[in-house]
C-alpha cells in the first residue's frame, strides 16, 4: 500500500526544496540578522523562490500593522506551510492587537507574505502571514532597552537616548524574560495600586506564570512600592516609579521594539 515510488520521490524532493528555501528565508529575515541580509536569492544556481526584504531592524526603524483578516501564521511564506499560530484582533486586555513586521517575501507562486513576531507563549515565535492579512504599515523610530544587569531602562530615538530610568525586574523565582519584544498596548491603569497610574503592555510572556489571567503578559508599569526600585521585586513585569512610567508612557509609541537583556 502507499504512494507509488515515483510519487514518493517527488514528494521527498519537494519537501527538501521547501525546507532549504525556508532555512534560507529564515536566516535572512531573522531579527537582528546582519545588515547585508536583504533580498538575496535562496540558492546559488536555482532561481530564487522568494525575494526577502527586511522591513524592520528593530532599532532605528520598526514597522508594524494591525491585522486585517483572520489568518493563520505559518512557518514559511506559503499557504501549505505548517501553521504556528493565528492572528488575533484583541490583546488579553481587549485592546487592538498589533504585529511587528520584520520582513516581506515575494514568491512567484504564493504572492506577497510578511514575517511577523507572534505575541504568544513561547516567546520569540516568528511566522509568516499573507500581505492581505495585515493593514497598512506604521513606522516607529525608537526602541527601548531594558538592562536587567544595571536595572535601567533607556528609550532611544534615532540612536539617541531620550529617556532613562531605574527599573524593578523579576525576582529569581519569577524572572523577566530576555529577548526582543515590542509595545502592544498603552493603558491607563485603574483598579490596583500595584500598577501605578499607567501601564504598557508588551508582547513578552512571563516564563513561569503561565496560569496568570491573560496568559502572563509582561507589562511595564508604575508601582505602589517605589522603595523597591531599582531591584528585583517583581513577578516578571518591569516596574518603574510612577513619575518615570508617566514620562515613558508619553514618550513611547505603539509598536516600539523592546530589548530585554
Amino acid at each position: 500500500m502507499g504512494f507509488p515510488r515515483k510519487h514518493r520521490q517527488r514528494r521527498r524532493l519537494r519537501g527538501l526544496l521547501r525546507a532549504g528555501a525556508a532555512l534560507a528565508v529564515a536566516g535572512l529575515a531573522a531579527p537582528g540578522a546582519s545588515a547585508q541580509g536583504a533580498a538575496t536569492p535562496t540558492a546559488s544556481n536555482a532561481p530564487p523562490r522568494a525575494v526577502v526584504t527586511r522591513l524592520s531592524n528593530l532599532r532605528s526603524v520598526t514597522r508594524w500593522a494591525y491585522p486585517e483578516n483572520d489568518s493563520a501564521v505559518r512557518s514559511e511564506p506559503s499557504s501549505r506551510a505548517r501553521p504556528v499560530g493565528r492572528l488575533r484582533f484583541l490583546t488579553p486586555d481587549d485592546q487592538a492587537e498589533l504585529y511587528v513586521v520584520l520582513a516581506a517575501a515575494k514568491t512567484p507562486r504564493a504572492g506577497s507574505w510578511l514575517q511577523v513576531e507572534v505575541p504568544a507563549r513561547p516567546n520569540g515565535r516568528l511566522g509568516w502571514v499573507p500581505r492581505s492579512a495585515l493593514g497598512s504599515l506604521h513606522v516607529v523610530r525608537s526602541y527601548l532597552l531594558v538592562d536587567q544587569g544595571s536595572l535601567q531602562a533607556t528609550l532611544f530615538r534615532e540612536g539617541r537616548a531620550i529617556f532613562s530610568a531605574p527599573v524593578g525586574v523579576g525576582k529569581p523565582s519569577t524572572v523577566t524574560p530576555a529577548g526582543e519584544f515590542y509595545v502592544l498596548e498603552k493603558l491607563r491603569s485603574i483598579g490596583s495600586p500595584i500598577y501605578g497610574p499607567f501601564a504598557i503592555g508588551t508582547s513578552a510572556y512571563a516564563p513561569t506564570l503561565s496560569e496568570w489571567p491573560g496568559g502572563g503578559v509582561v507589562g511595564i508599569h508604575g508601582t505602589n512600592e517605589p522603595q523597591l526600585i531599582p531591584g528585583r521585586p517583581s513577578h516578571g513585569c518591569i516596574r518603574m516609579r510612577d513619575a518615570d512610567i508617566t514620562k515613558l508612557w508619553s514618550l513611547i509609541a505603539l509598536g516600539t521594539p523592546i530589548e530585554i537583556t
Binding site: 488579553p92 497598512s136 491603569s189 516578571g236
Partner: protein, 468 residues
C-alpha cells in the same frame, strides 16, 4: 252567715299572702342569679377576647420581630455571602462607596519569597435601563507579607446600583473568599479626561516629533467621560488648531466611559520655527445635565513638535539595511478619525474587487478604496469612499446593510457613513462597501466590493492583566 263568709275570705286572703309572698321573693332571686351568671359569662367572654386579642397582638409582634430578624439576616447575608471555606470571613474586610471599593486583606501566612495571590472582580449592575452593567475584569492581586489593602476605583452610576465584589484565594496555606452583593445609591459625579496626541503622517503619539515648516501636524484629542453622569462636551479650545480644521465635536451628551475624538490640523509656520517648538495643550468643558452637578474643565497633556530645516530633515538616516530598496509603506491614513481611536483600514489591500477591469472603463485601481480609522474604535467613527465617478455605495456591517448612498449624497467629495461603535460588541467587525461606478451609455456599470476590519476595543482605562 254573711259575717262567716267575710271571715273566710279574710282568712283566705291572709293565707294567700302567706303562701304567695315567699314565692314572689323566690322568683326575684332566680332572676338575679341568672343576671349574675350572664354577667359572669360576659366577663369571661370579654376576658377571653382580651386574651385572644393580646395573643393576636403578641403573635403579630412576634411575626413582626421574626420578619425584622429575617430582614436583618437577609441584609447580613447580602452584605457578606461566603463562598469558600475556612477562614474566609476573617481574612478580608470590604468597604464600598460610590467611587472606590477598599478591600483589606489580613492574617495571611508569610512565606518568604512567596507572595500571596488574590483574585478580585467587581461587577456593577444598575437595574434601571438603559444603563449597562459595568464590569471590571477579574484580576490577580498579589502582595508580600500578612496583609495588604486593595483600592479599586469605580464609577457607580447615579442612583441605586448593585455592586457585586468577588474575591478568592488559596495561597500559602490560607484559603477563602467572598461574594458580596451590596446596594449603593450614588449622587452624580461629573469627571472627564482629555488626552492629546499628534501625528506628522505616522501613528498618533504623545512623543515629541520633528517637522518642517509647511508640514501639517494632525492633532487628536481623545475626551473620555470618566464620571458617572452623561456629559456634553463643549468649549473645546486649542490655540494651535488652524481655523476651520476642527472636527469631531459632538453636541450630544456622552454616556459615562464614552469617548469622543476631536481632530484638528496645524501647519508649521516660519514663526513656529523661530520659536523653536510647537507646543500647546487643549482644554474642554464637560457639562452635566441640569441638577447633576457643576460643569468641569480639564486640560490635556502637552505635545510638542520641534521644527527642523529641510537640510536637517534630509539628514535623517535611512532606516533600511541591505542593498535593496525596501517597499515604501503605504501613506498613512489621514482620515478625521484615524490614528489611535481608529480602525485598521488598509481597505485597498484587502478588498475583493469584482470589477470587470478594462471592459467597462474602470479598472479595479480606479474604483475607490474604503477608508476608515485604524486601531481601536470605542465611540463613533466614519467610513468613507471617494465619490468621484461613483454611482452608489452600499455600506454593510458584519453582513447587514447599513445604508445605501447615491452620488447625490456626496459631501466634500466623499460618500460617508457614521457608525456608532459604542453599540458594537468588543472584537473585530467587518465593514464592506459595495461600490457601483457610473457607466457609459449602453455599458454595464462596474462594481466592486471594498472591505476593512474595525476593532471595537475595551476602554484603555482598566486594570491590566499583567504579572505585576
Amino acid at each position: 252567715m254573711r259575717r262567716n263568709r267575710l271571715l273566710a275570705l279574710a282568712i283566705l286572703a291572709i293565707l294567700s299572702l302567706a303562701v304567695l309572698a315567699p314565692a314572689g321573693f323566690a322568683n326575684e332571686g332566680a332572676a338575679g342569679r341568672r343576671a349574675a351568671k350572664h354577667a359572669e359569662r360576659d366577663a369571661k367572654r370579654q376576658a377571653a377576647a382580651q386574651r385572644q386579642a393580646e395573643r393576636g397582638a403578641h403573635r403579630q409582634q412576634r411575626g413582626a420581630e421574626r420578619k425584622a430578624a429575617a430582614e436583618r439576616g437577609a441584609e447580613r447575608k447580602a452584605e457578606r455571602k461566603l463562598l469558600l471555606g475556612h477562614k474566609s470571613d476573617t481574612n478580608a474586610d470590604v468597604k464600598i462607596d460610590c467611587t472606590s471599593i477598599t478591600i483589606e486583606y489580613h492574617d495571611f501566612n508569610v512565606v518568604p519569597g512567596s507572595p500571596n495571590f488574590v483574585w478580585q472582580g467587581v461587577h456593577i449592575k444598575s437595574p434601571p435601563p438603559p444603563l449597562e452593567p459595568v464590569n471590571f475584569p477579574p484580576k490577580l492581586f498579589s502582595f508580600e507579607g500578612a496583609s495588604a489593602t486593595s483600592v479599586i476605583p469605580v464609577a457607580a452610576p447615579v442612583g441605586r446600583s448593585t455592586v457585586d465584589i468577588r474575591s478568592h484565594w488559596d495561597t500559602n496555606g490560607v484559603k477563602g473568599g467572598f461574594d458580596i452583593h451590596q446596594t449603593v445609591t450614588c449622587p452624580p459625579h461629573p469627571a472627564l479626561t482629555i488626552e492629546k496626541l499628534q501625528s506628522l503622517g505616522g501613528p498618533f503619539t504623545t512623543e515629541t516629533l520633528s517637522g518642517m515648516v509647511g508640514q501639517s501636524i494632525m492633532y487628536e484629542m481623545i475626551v473620555t467621560n470618566t464620571g458617572n453622569t452623561p456629559l456634553t462636551f463643549t468649549g473645546f479650545s486649542d490655540a494651535l488648531c488652524d481655523p476651520g480644521t476642527i472636527s469631531g465635536e459632538d453636541t450630544e451628551p456622552i454616556e459615562p466611559l464614552g469617548t469622543i475624538t476631536i481632530v484638528c490640523v496645524h501647519k508649521i509656520t516660519p514663526a513656529d520655527a523661530t520659536a523653536g517648538k510647537v507646543l500647546n495643550v487643549a482644554t474642554i468643558t464637560g457639562t452635566p445635565e441640569e441638577g447633576e452637578g457643576e460643569p468641569i474643565t480639564e486640560r490635556s497633556n502637552p505635545v510638542e513638535v520641534a521644527p527642523v530645516t529641510e537640510e536637517e530633515h534630509k539628514k535623517e538616516p535611512e532606516p533600511e539595511d541591505g542593498n535593496k530598496e525596501p517597499p515604501k509603506p503605504p501613506p498613512a491614513k489621514t482620515t478625521p478619525n484615524g490614528g489611535v481611536a481608529g480602525i485598521s483600514a488598509s481597505s485597498g489591500a484587502s478588498s475583493t474587487s469584482t470589477s470587470k477591469s478594462g471592459v467597462l472603463g474602470f479598472t479595479s485601481a480606479t474604483i475607490p478604496s474604503l477608508r476608515g480609522p485604524q486601531g481601536c474604535v470605542r465611540s463613533s467613527f466614519t467610513a468613507s469612499v471617494k465619490s468621484a465617478n461613483v454611482a452608489s455605495v452600499s455600506f454593510y456591517l458584519d453582513g447587514h446593510l447599513l445604508r445605501r448612498l447615491s452620488a447625490t449624497a456626496a459631501h466634500k467629495g466623499l460618500l460617508s457613513i457614521h457608525i456608532n461603535a459604542s453599540k458594537l460588541k468588543v472584537g473585530a467587525h467587518r465593514i464592506q462597501a459595495r461600490i457601483t461606478m457610473k457607466a457609459a451609455k449602453g455599458a454595464k456599470p462596474a462594481k466592486a466590493t471594498r472591505s476593512m476590519t474595525v476593532v471595537r476595543c475595551h476602554s484603555a482605562v482598566i486594570a491590566p492583566h499583567f504579572t505585576g
